[in-house]
């Protein structure tokens, strides 16, 4: 099996606080991998190191065999890593479609063109991406007036504009209604499987995690303490102790849903 992302010995500390300590893992193409853990476990730090926003103190991050440590986010993006943010980051003065068009213009290296109306560029590709995430009907709306769930879907479309090999999603469903959460993750999973994109996401909603992740990694105090299938991780007593609690909550809810 090929490896898409190979992380080895990642270390980061902030003035004495060890945020991430010797984290190693791998992601395969088409695999959906969840990274969970208590607040302050180092999830966001890990994420920000993966896309180049933070430089690790030590360790290597190889994307399809090539080292990406030390590259700025924009270069990591060019290597095929799409990313969504915990708090949505979009261009609020533009329409929904224009948001995607900017990403497409950048992907096709046309951002230094000084002439021509950019609003007409890559229309088909932009519409296709918007259809993919179910936003085609809102294409003309100003991005600034979208509901939060729609912003999350727009972010997904933008993150897919560079035909990524790897998608990093930092709490993709935070702040969304329960129904929207399931829909967004189902959508993401479908796209990932179809296009063979590896997905790494952090999440606090265990419904989302256990429904959609192929495998789950647990981070605690900057160290990976477990990795396995959702079932394995859920029944791991150590993981229950540090993060999940006794798991009754999920089981109860889950049972109810399967009955329905």
């Amino acid at each position: 099996m090929t490896t898409l992302l190979d992380v080895k010995g990642l270390v980061k500390s902030y003035s004495g606080v060890h945020a991430v300590r010797d984290v190693s893992f791998a992601v395969r193409p088409g695999e959906i991998l969840a990274l969970i853990g208590p607040n302050g476990a180092g999830k966001s730090t890990c994420f920000n190191m993966l896309n180049g926003q933070i430089r690790p103190d030590a360790g290597s991050i190889k994307l399809a065999g090539e080292e990406v440590v030390g590259l700025p986010p924009r270069t990591v993006w060019r290597r095929g890593v799409g990313r969504t943010f915990q708090i949505t980051a979009t261009f609020s003065s533009m329409t929904v479609r224009e948001n995607v068009q900017v990403a497409l213009l950048s992907f096709h290296r046309r951002l230094w063109s000084l002439f021509g109306y950019a609003g007409k560029s890559y229309l088909d590709e932009a519409n296709e991406l918007l259809t993919l995430v179910g936003m085609q009907e809102q294409a003309e709306r100003p991005c600034g007036e979208l509901a939060y769930g729609d912003l999350k879907r727009l972010e997904l479309a933008v993150a897919l504009a560079n035909q990524p090999r790897l998608l990093l999603m930092d709490e993709p469903t935070a702040g969304m209604a329960p129904k929207e959460r399931v829909e967004l993750m189902r959508l993401t999973a479908g796209i990932a499987r179809r296009k063979d994109i590896g997905v790494l996401f952090t999440e606090h909603d265990m419904d989302v995690v256990f429904e959609h992740a192929d495998e789950v990694m647990v981070l605690n105090r900057g160290q990976l303490v477990a990795r396995g299938t959702p079932q394995q991780v859920r029944s791991d007593p150590h993981v229950q102790a540090i993060y999940l609690g006794d798991g009754l909550l999920y089981d109860a809810k889950h049972r109810k849903e399967t009955v329905q």
């Binding site: 943010f85 900017v102 951002l111 000084l114 609003g119 007036e145």
Partner: protein
């Protein structure tokens, strides 16, 4: 050696007043997030009122009582301004707040002349400190010694105030997170007002303390405000101790710079500021801005290219302007040319500010470089107008390359202040390098070619160049590059995550703006037939800012309308009344309060007025939440 020591003492004495004014500005910014341009005006008022109380009504309060009473009176005026004006605009973009306080500055300038006259005033000496003592055979005024002691004393008093009183703790808390403080049940209104009053008191005291040292003039406000900006930027906005260190540093650089490098003494301070900002972008003791609004240019009605009808309308307007020379007299045509020059200048600044989100306080640098470039081409190369009109923009471009390299490392208020510093450096060179620039006497005899020498011909020339320039800038807005630039303005995090190199894209925006401003400057040189350092000075930069904000920063080409209205109004007022600044300032203040989106933004709002969106989040509500969202996001990252 003795001379250096004496100069150093004199520098320390100057630092006292500078520190008082700067700490006031810093405290106000820390809590209210308003960069108070009117701070220089309060400094000046402090000096004038103190002059009246000590000189005209001497005896009633005594000299020292007069100084304190004057500062208190001015602080009351400041509190009044905060309550009447600033309270209405705390939620406006920070550039509007700056514009409003600038409007107040303009008004105060005329009011001061109205009350105290235009002549410089000599205040009384401080009783008990009238003499001087001898140091190595040189005389040092004893009053200077008093000031040297006073600076650290005020610093200590402020420290006690902020660390040992309940009010001080609240102010420090509000500096960290004013929303949280409001949530804790603190009456924010009065906290803001009292902070503002304290800041103004310090400024006025700084001014009052100057009267035994220097004459009181009605232009001391602009000179101090630039120095104060430099001080708070070097020290770090919001840091009182930083302001003290920077005030000493700047004053010493001024005092000793004259000994070492008399030719470029003015530059030294700004060079130090540029170096500090590059090494420590938030000043010596400043912290990174948290939770700041992303930029002034956030627009929630997406921009669209002109429709067919709008194109026709624009063409008709241009055509009718082109017909103007057929029935307008020479005076009107030269006024028209001047307005057109400023239309192009404002449009270039508008491109930077609204499309790029890069607010510049020093856009005059490129305008003046363009003017001097054209003048050099004529004077030293004997070039004809056609060539000189190309050399000018080239100068603007080169200036933008150099300043942009430094400036794009910063953002927000710090970016704006660094552009101001750069403009002042260029101004100092033009002012002090007499052999080349003619210094204060300028360069004369820059006349257009024969075909454009009549007012009519020159009007057509400026009309053609300005229309093409504005059209090109507008095309750029909608080009792929323009989209990328707007992306960096809207959200740097996202633009970086989709492969956009923010620094290069913004640097390029500066090059574009600098070049077009250079074109405007070159035209201006030929319009006036001469070039003076004034073309590089702060008032030109501020004119540009006012034009852009007047037109509307959320619009694509509002600056065109803003420039026409402002320049026409300014020229007309100048011919009608001696109090043009008072009227202009009042108009600016009224506009900021009544139409914060500018003239064009106001018209667009009126045109787009429509029922709220079905889900109850109209553009207005979405706008607010969008801004907050961005602010929170930047804070989080």
């Amino acid at each position: 050696m003795e001379l250096i020591l004496v100069q150093a003492l004199s520098g320390l004495a100057s630092a006292a007043s500078l520190f008082l004014v700067a700490s006031g500005l810093s405290i106000i910014f820390g809590v209210t997030r308003i960069v108070n341009f009117a701070h220089g005006a309060f400094y000046m008022l402090g000096a004038y009122v103190a002059f009246t109380l000590t000189d005209r009504f001497s005896g009633a309060l005594g000299f020292w009582g007069g100084l304190v009473a004057a500062s208190l009176i001015v602080a009351l005026l400041g509190a009044l301004m905060e309550m009447v004006l600033l309270r209405r605009i705390y939620h406006a973009p920070e550039l509007f707040q700056l514009l409003a306080t600038f409007g107040v500055t303009l008004m105060v300038q005329d009011i001061v002349v109205l009350i105290w006259g235009a002549d410089d005033l000599m205040g009384p000496r401080a009783p008990g400190f009238t003499g001087a003592f001898s140091l190595f055979g040189r005389l040092v005024p004893t009053y200077d010694l008093l000031l040297i002691v006073l600076g650290p004393a005020v610093l200590g008093a402020l420290w006690l105030l902020f660390h040992r009183t309940r009010w001080g703790v609240l102010v420090r808390a509000a500096t960290q997170d004013r929303d949280m403080v409001a949530c804790l049940g603190v009456n924010q209104k009065w906290l803001f007002t009292s902070v503002f009053a304290l800041g103004v008191f310090l400024a006025a005291l700084g001014g009052a303390l100057q009267i035994p040292r220097t004459t009181v003039t009605h232009y001391m406000d602009l000179s101090i405000i630039v120095e104060v900006f430099v001080v708070v930027v070097i020290g770090g906005l919001g840091s009182v101790t930083g302001a003290f260190i920077a005030a000493v540093l700047v004053s010493e650089l001024n005092a000793l710079g004259i000994l070492v490098l008399p030719k470029i003494s003015l530059i030294a301070v700004f060079l130090v500021m540029a170096v500090v900002l590059v090494v420590r972008p938030y000043g010596l003791l400043g912290k990174a801005e948290r939770g700041v609004r992303a930029s002034a240019g956030i627009s929630f009605r997406p921009w669209k290219p002109m429709s067919q009808w709008e194109r026709i309308g624009a063409a008709v307007l241009v055509a009718s302007a082109a017909l103007l020379p057929l029935f307008a007299g020479n005076y009107l045509l030269s006024v028209g040319s001047e307005i057109l020059v400023f239309v192009l200048f404002a449009a270039s600044l508008h491109f930077m500010m609204t499309v790029g989100g890069l607010a510049s306080f020093g856009h005059a640098a490129f305008f003046g470089l363009g003017a001097y470039g054209a003048a050099f081409a004529v004077k030293f190369l004997g070039a004809p107008m056609e060539v000189a009109l190309l050399v000018g923009p080239l100068f603007g471009l080169i200036g933008a390359v150099v300043s942009g390299w430094f400036c794009v490392r910063l953002s927000g208020v710090y970016f704006a202040m660094l552009t101001l510093a750069f403009a002042q450096i260029i101004w100092s060179i033009a002012f002090q390098w007499v052999e080349v620039t003619g210094g204060d006497n300028g360069i004369l005899g820059i006349w257009p070619s024969a075909w454009a020498s009549s007012p009519r011909g020159f009007f057509w020339l400026t009309l053609g160049v300005s229309v093409v320039g504005v059209a090109l800038l507008r095309m750029l807005v909608f080009s792929p590059y323009g989209f990328g630039l707007r992306a960096t303005r809207d959200n740097t995090l996202r633009s970086d995550a989709i492969g956009i190199d923010r620094k290069s894209v913004q640097w390029a925006a500066l090059l574009v703006a600098g070049t077009f401003a250079g074109v405007a400057g070159a035209l201006f040189a030929f319009l006036k037939g001469s070039v003076f350092p004034e073309s590089l000075a702060i008032p030109i930069s501020v004119d540009g800012l006012v034009m852009v904000l007047l037109g509307g920063i959320e619009t694509v080409s509002g600056a065109v309308v803003g420039a026409i209205v402002y320049k026409a109004l300014a020229i007309w007022l100048m011919s009608q009344t001696d109090l043009s600044k008072l009227v202009l300032g009042a108009i600016i203040v009224l506009l900021v309060v009544a139409a914060p989106k500018g003239i064009v933004g106001f018209i667009e709002d009126w045109r787009h007025r429509r029922p709220p969106a079905p889900n109850g989040t109209g553009p207005e509500a979405a706008g607010k939440s969008g801004t907050v969202g961005i602010a929170k996001m930047e804070a989080a990252e």
